[in-house]
């Protein structure tokens, strides 16, 4: 099946099997490996991207279901060489160790601040319910997000 969508502002059109997951489409068909696959069962959040402005788990959406959609991935955040403030904050505050969960964490965090510009620590922790990190203990992730909220 032909699927046409916009990824990070660029129109793409590819022939895919209906069973292709959006995350596999991004990684295998488009070669954009910034979006990770952790569990592939909608639990871990490593695969979070934005579809039409909302964060979703791209391992639980078919590529064909994104027909006509605007998809933003971690690759679409930076402006050229300049990191997105959330990426910069994760670097600054040590919000990552191995980095596996980071793309999903950052995409979730960016979505949070869209709806809630000044979240409390508890609200940040609640929002990260669907994002798992095996390294950081979350503390510095929460700190990173908080620091961006305080910037804005």
């Amino acid at each position: 099946m032909e699927v046409s969508l916009s990824v990070n502002g660029k129109e793409v059109s590819e022939d895919v099997e209906p069973r292709t997951l959006l995350v596999d489409f991004l990684r295998n068909d488009l070669g954009m490996t910034g979006t990770h696959i952790g569990c592939e069962t909608s639990q871990c959040g490593a695969c979070v991207v934005h579809v039409d402005g909302r964060s979703i788990k791209s391992c639980t959406l078919l590529a064909v279901q994104a027909e006509g959609a605007e998809v933003t991935t971690i690759e679409g955040l930076a402006a050229g060489d300049e990191l997105h403030p959330m990426q910069a904050a994760f670097r600054e505050e040590h919000g990552l160790q191995c980095g596996f969960c980071t793309p999903g964490m950052i995409m979730s965090a960016v979505d949070l601040l869209k709806n809630n510009t000044d979240p409390t620590t508890n609200e940040i922790r609640d929002w990260l319910e669907g994002n798992m990190c095996r390294c950081t203990g979350y503390h510095n992730i929460v700190k990173s997000i908080k620091s961006v909220a305080e910037l804005e």
Binding site: P18, G45, V48, K57, L61, V64, S108
Partner: protein
């Protein structure tokens, strides 16, 4: 995942026709339950009929003392809706308590209700609030809709179009969530509606049920103490790695007492 064909009709009629065309076809709404089930090969539809393009299935409105919530309305949209927050804040809280933000951004009320997971939140919400499930062909009261674990009164080619929820005098939902998934180990919806107090329980047994002994006691005296010493008999409580049957029976009463307290002025 096995291979399948995919269609995305833009009308209810076309979706029903597509369901009738192939016995092995299945609707996909938010996909939060169906896609993982297909990955596990527990479901193997030949055709997926995506109802995300049917505009009439989306949205929330207030109509004749009721809220009408389209089947494709996402959990996040119920949680954030000013109409729901205004008229049935307990339902907005219920929606907000489901899974995580990304699950709430995709999962739908229609999908949750059609799936009737024994640990899902909406079944308790709908039964507790005396709601009606509206389909492409009829209306079914929530009391008659949820028939057994993963079973409902729906026919194989029937599509939920909306749920209609009469605005209660007061209502709230208390759940003891599974710390990993947020599904209800036990969830209790208590509402005061036009014909009295309703207490609906999810997570505790294979299918949502009304705790009528608690309803009767609360009808007489709407206080946490009124239900403190009542035994809930005749219920088969679930027993699994998350909680024993005894613990679940205990949690029903604890959640119910908290709910009563929360909506007592």
């Amino acid at each position: 995942m096995y291979q399948f064909d995919y269609e995305a009709p833009d009308s209810i009629e076309a979706a029903v026709a597509a369901l009738r065309e192939n016995d092995e076809s299945k609707l996909v709404a938010g996909g939060m339950t169906l896609l993982p089930t297909m990955k596990l090969r527990l479901a193997r539809p030949e055709v997926l009929i995506d109802i995300n393009n049917i505009e009439s299935l989306f949205g929330i409105s207030e109509l004749e003392e009721s809220l009408v919530i389209g089947a494709m309305t996402r959990h996040a949209d119920v949680a954030m809706s000013s109409i729901v927050q205004n008229f049935i804040p307990g339902l907005a809280c219920l929606a907000e308590s489901i899974g995580d933000p990304q699950v709430r951004n995709r999962g739908t009320i229609g999908g949750s209700v059609a799936n009737n997971d024994s640990a899902a939140d909406y079944p308790a919400g709908l039964v507790g609030l005396d709601a009606t499930v509206v389909t492409d062909r009829r209306e079914i009261s929530a009391d008659n809709f949820f028939t057994d674990m993963f079973e409902t009164a729906l026919e194989v080619d029937e599509i939920i179009t909306a749920v209609r929820i009469p605005i209660p005098q007061r209502a709230t939902y208390m759940k003891f969530p599974n710390p990993a998934s947020r599904y209800a180990v036990v969830g209790v919806m208590i509402a005061e509606v036009s014909d009295g107090i309703r207490v609906a329980v999810t997570g505790a047994s294979p299918c949502v049920f009304r705790a009528t002994v608690l309803e009767e006691a609360l009808e007489e005296d709407f206080t946490p103490e009124a239900i403190a010493n009542i035994a809930i008999d005749g219920v088969q409580f679930n027993e699994d790695i998350h909680a024993s049957a005894e613990f679940r029976a205990h949690l029903v009463k604890v959640m119910a007492r908290r709910a009563v307290l929360a909506i007592s002025s």
